[in-house]
């Protein structure tokens, strides 16, 4: 890098701020398109985008660090609920008559213990689980996209390079705690080619990453064991302009990531689902 990236951000490499805004999806469509165009020819900036995306995902995970301890959770839930429907009408009036700033918070924290315990139980099962599930879904989508972007880097070579399903499938034996079938080349949609595969990890679970091309578009297909992989029902359909489509078979979860048109991505998924069916 001879020039500082910020000095020439309008014409050449991405400046720090633009890169940051780009991965956050904060740029106007025209500018986003201009950057995407630049990325298609600039290996260096593509690597920087990839690296920044990985840092973002890692920050999202690391930043979600402090969960309220159960007793604090109970007190706060009780507070929220008692603000809504207090047991004592007197308190309702006090609450809504705008008490002086300091007292109310402490009044709520000494609500009957029974109610606090009940609230805690409800919250622990509903809201807290919801929170846990909501965030990992976003994280998972980001993780899938990261891994897909990593395969786009020209320096990335698949661990097993083959267009032959008879080479790819056995390669995973002993590497994965599950097995899967690959469709015969003739059963793949038109102009779809298997390029190779990687062993990877999603949410700490081993996964097969199959690398396909449809026309000139790169496609990453992740196969995980259904019994251990997280629920993907709320996985977004698109992320940062890429399509994420998922399917399940009795044993597997299949998620495909690509910028190819969604219908063609679905055809590939369908052929993979079909290949898992017993003959």
């Amino acid at each position: 890098m001879n020039q500082t990236p910020q000095a020439n951000q309008s014409t050449d490499h991405l400046g720090h701020d633009k890169l940051s805004a780009f991965i956050d999806g904060e740029l106007a469509p025209a500018e986003k398109q201009r950057i995407e165009q630049h990325l298609s020819t600039c290996h260096e900036c593509t690597l920087r985008v990839l690296s920044a995306t990985q840092l973002k995902t890692a920050t999202a995970r690391a930043g979600q660090r402090f969960a309220p301890p159960p007793d604090a959770l109970a007190r706060l839930t009780a507070q929220l609920h008692s603000q809504q429907a207090p047991a004592k009408p007197l308190q309702t009036m006090k609450t809504q008559a705008n008490l002086p700033t300091k007292t109310p918070a402490r009044i709520f924290s000494i609500r009957p213990a029974a109610w606090a315990a009940l609230a805690a139980a409800i919250l622990l099962t509903v809201s807290f689980l919801g929170w846990r599930q909501l965030h990992p879904t976003n994280t998972l989508a980001a993780e899938l996209l990261d891994q897909h972007l990593a395969t786009l880097s020209s320096s990335a070579t698949p661990q097993v390079i083959s267009t032959d399903r008879h080479t790819v499938k056995p390669w995973f034996q002993g590497r994965l705690p599950f097995s899967f079938n690959l469709p015969e080349p003739a059963a793949l949609p038109p102009d779809t080619t298997l390029k190779g595969a990687n062993l990877t990890y999603l949410n700490g679970q081993p996964a097969a990453l199959l690398l396909f091309t449809i026309h000139k578009h790169e496609v990453s297909v992740f196969l995980t064991q259904r019994s251990t992989s997280p629920t993907l029902t709320t996985l977004p359909n698109t992320r940062s302009g890429f399509t994420l489509h998922a399917a399940t078979t009795p044993d597997l979860r299949i998620v495909a990531v690509s910028d190819v048109n969604p219908a063609e991505l679905d055809n590939l998924i369908a052929s993979l689902v079909q290949a898992q069916k017993p003959i």
């Binding site: 910020q6 840092l55 995902t57 999202a60 930043g63 402090f66 007190r75 929220l80 919801g130």
Partner: protein, 178 residues
């Protein structure tokens, strides 16, 4: 009175799903579990009282995070934090271009969360705050601008600076572990 009760129910419905997020963020601000709880508690109290001024077509999450932050700024820790000088107008103080990382170094291995936790803790509070609102809470820049009460351009540069600083903080540690 019954409409006030409905309004509080509405508030509870909106605030409850954000409880864990608010607590997490409060903990990052206060760096202490007891203070984090107090901060969330006071935020709920203030937010309900101000709920009549909340317009339903605006972003509730941004609204309540703004109250959380303003409440924090009135605490002792918050006053101390606000007093620290922030070198926002001197972007050159952060030298990131002199020895730019090589593409190999750019591809950080970020599977070690402990390393990143330490780096996040070392980050300047103003930078960390903006970054967490963006990456953890997934709040848009325009809403972060409302929460922090700064122009959107400042949000963009704080987030960008936070990431460059994090990267710098991560590099020597990675060097050691390799």
């Amino acid at each position: 009175m019954s409409s006030a009760t409905t309004r509080s129910a509405e508030f509870e419905q909106l605030a409850l799903p954000l409880l864990a997020s608010l607590y997490n963020h409060a903990h990052w601000l206060t760096r202490n579990p007891a203070e984090a709880e107090d901060l969330v508690q006071e935020t709920f109290t203030k937010a309900l009282r101000a709920f009549d001024s909340f317009q339903s077509d605006t972003n509730f999450k941004a609204w309540i995070f703004r109250i959380l932050r303003n409440t924090f700024l009135t605490t002792r820790a918050g006053i101390a934090a606000a007093r620290t000088v922030f070198l926002e107008d001197h972007p050159d103080t952060l030298d990131t271009t002199a020895s730019g990382p090589t593409p190999e170094e750019i591809l950080l291995r970020l599977d070690n969360d402990a390393t990143l936790h330490t780096a996040l803790e070392q980050l300047q509070p103003q930078l960390r705050e903006a970054l967490l609102l963006c990456d953890v809470e997934e709040i848009k820049y325009k809403d972060i601008a409302v929460i922090l009460d700064v122009p959107i351009g400042t949000v963009m540069s704080r987030i960008s600076r936070a990431r460059r600083t994090l990267r710098q903080l991560l590099q020597p540690q990675l060097g050691e572990s390799l």
